[in-house]
Amino acid sequence: MLVKHAASTEAEIRIGTDGKSLDTRGLEFEINDWDRYAVEEALRIKEAHGGEVVVVGVGIDCDPTLRKCLAMGADRAIKVPIDTGMDPYLTAKAIKEAIKGEKFDLILAGVMSQDLNYSLVGVLLAAMLDLPFATAVTSVKIEDGKVRVLRELEGGYQEEDVLPLPCLLTVQSGINEPRYVSIMGIKRARTKELREVKVTLGEPTLVVERIYHPPIKKAEMLEGDAPKIVDQLIEILKSRGLI
């Protein structure tokens, strides 16, 4: 189970003075939203079929997210304490190294990270491990050495596929209702194993040249207090014949 300690998109995000990094002071970090669903799915599979859920996180400060997964019910955690920046290839390679020697039936990851939005680490890892895979999965059913999945396509369509185990799936948000962490869960998490595995950072494939605000066409902003804004709004709707 792959998880990312990701920056929240809700907070104000400031660009670092070098123009190539993010000012981390303004950022709030949390478990990546897609990964919450993936952890929940992993726990449900374990509850139905037995086994063990191991969470793997890459990042120097990813402990809170790993602890959260343990509190949700994961059995143990592996932390890879390196900074892979904006290069998902390095992240996938680090995970490959870190889980060498681990036996698994299924690897789950979220579809994408909420901060960098690549949708890469899961499938990159599948390719590095020569695993069958499926992305944007909206249903997972384990059947006798196989897994039957639904995948989300465009325009509301889905496709059904069957994959052999072991395989790798990336989980779409909305697949389940992730559980809340209980006080008991948090207490239990303290005694669970969180192991650091050191790996060497690979050669970068993507190097950040510049981070900037998008040059967007800006909407005409309606200003003033609420009554004034609503008056303007009503005038706009009237002029368009909408009321």
Partner: protein, 318 residues
């Protein structure tokens, strides 16, 4: 640069992203070539369409390739690329492309970047531009390892020249049976309301906060003679049914009025509503990307604006 574009089709229709990839390929190939690859069964017609915008179209045709399967697609693409070596491979940022691109990149020993909206090639150095934080910021990335596989955002490279190259029929066939087997397609659920037919849509996003607040949007929609729709987080939370989802994995809508309440404006949502006649967005966050697509923006708390708007509309209606 030798630039390949992997065409995409489903249900007997070529996805327009295939042409957009070729337009981009033509603009970055320099003294090189733009080459489409079409994989499927009976795809000669698609090849004829593609070749208008490509120097070469490689056709890989087999009965087993009728429906997309990543294992088979990757198998045949690697056979082609062993002989015809790419510098850049372009794929749509779609449900297929997001599977193919990373896997191909690893097997080609190259690099990969996704959801790309700009590509710059100078002196054989490739730089790409993409959004991060769901549209709030952009980043330029230098690719340090070729070949690179890029997934390209839909709707960015809409125009391009005619090229009229040649179609090459290959005898490439899948070399093994796939690990993953395709079972069937499942059609979208049909609900009581078809939001794509509505003239007025009141759409709610994460900012609506809770299921109990949906009724506020419903009241406003009722007064305006419209329907309520939602963005992904609202559907995921079960606050609205799936058939009310606007966006790439839901419906594409073009109402006369699209009122976006508490929607941040991630690309996956915007692609489904950007062509609406009038877009008005209410979001607390003045940096929200939705204000990049809206005609009018209100950077305020929707819970201040909407109740007041309902009250005034009721007064007008009497």
């Amino acid at each position: 640069m030798r630039v390949f574009a992997i065409a995409e089709h489903r249900f007997g229709e070529l996805n327009s992203i295939s042409f957009e990839l070729l337009h981009l390929a033509n603009s970055i190939k320099g003294s090189g070539t733009s080459e489409a690859v079409i994989i499927g069964r009976n795809v000669a017609g698609f090849a004829r369409e593609l070749v208008r915008h490509a120097d070469k179209v490689w056709v890989i045709s087999d009965e087993s390739l009728e429906n997309y399967n990543p294992d088979l697609y990757i198998d045949v693409l690697l056979q082609l690329f062993r002989i015809e070596t790419p510098d850049i491979v372009l794929i749509g940022h779609t449900s297929q492309g997001c599977e193919l691109a990373p896997y191909l990149a690893v097997k080609l020993g190259g690099s990969v970047a996704t959801d790309v909206v700009g590509v710059n090639v100078s002196n054989d150095a490739v730089t790409v531009s993409r959004y991060i934080f769901q549209g709030k910021l952009m980043v330029d990335l230098k690719i340090t390892k070729l070949p690179c596989v890029l997934t390209i955002r839909q709707g960015v490279f809409k125009e391009g020249p005619e090229v009229n190259g040649e179609v090459i029929n290959t005898d490439i066939k899948p070399s093994r049976s796939p690990a993953r087997s395709f079972v069937k397609f499942i059609k979208p659920e049909v609900g009581e309301v078809d939001i794509s037919q509505a003239d007025v849509i009141v759409a709610v996003g994460r900012g609506i906060g809770d299921a109990s607040n949906i009724k506020l949007a419903e009241e406003l929609a009722q007064i305006l003679g419209g329907v309520v729709a939602g963005s992904r987080p609202v559907i995921d939370s079960g606050w609205l049914p799936k058939d009310r989802q606007v966006g790439i994995s839901g419906k594409t809508v073009k109402p006369k009025l699209y009122l976006a309440l508490g929607i941040s404006g991630a690309f996956q949502h915007v692609i489904g509503m950007k062509d609406s006649d009038l877009i008005i967005a209410v979001n607390k966050d003045p940096e929200a990307p939705i204000f990049g697509v809206a005609h009018y923006g209100i950077a305020s708390d929707l819970f201040e604006i909407v109740p007041l708007l309902i009250k005034k509309l009721k007064e007008i209606r009497g």
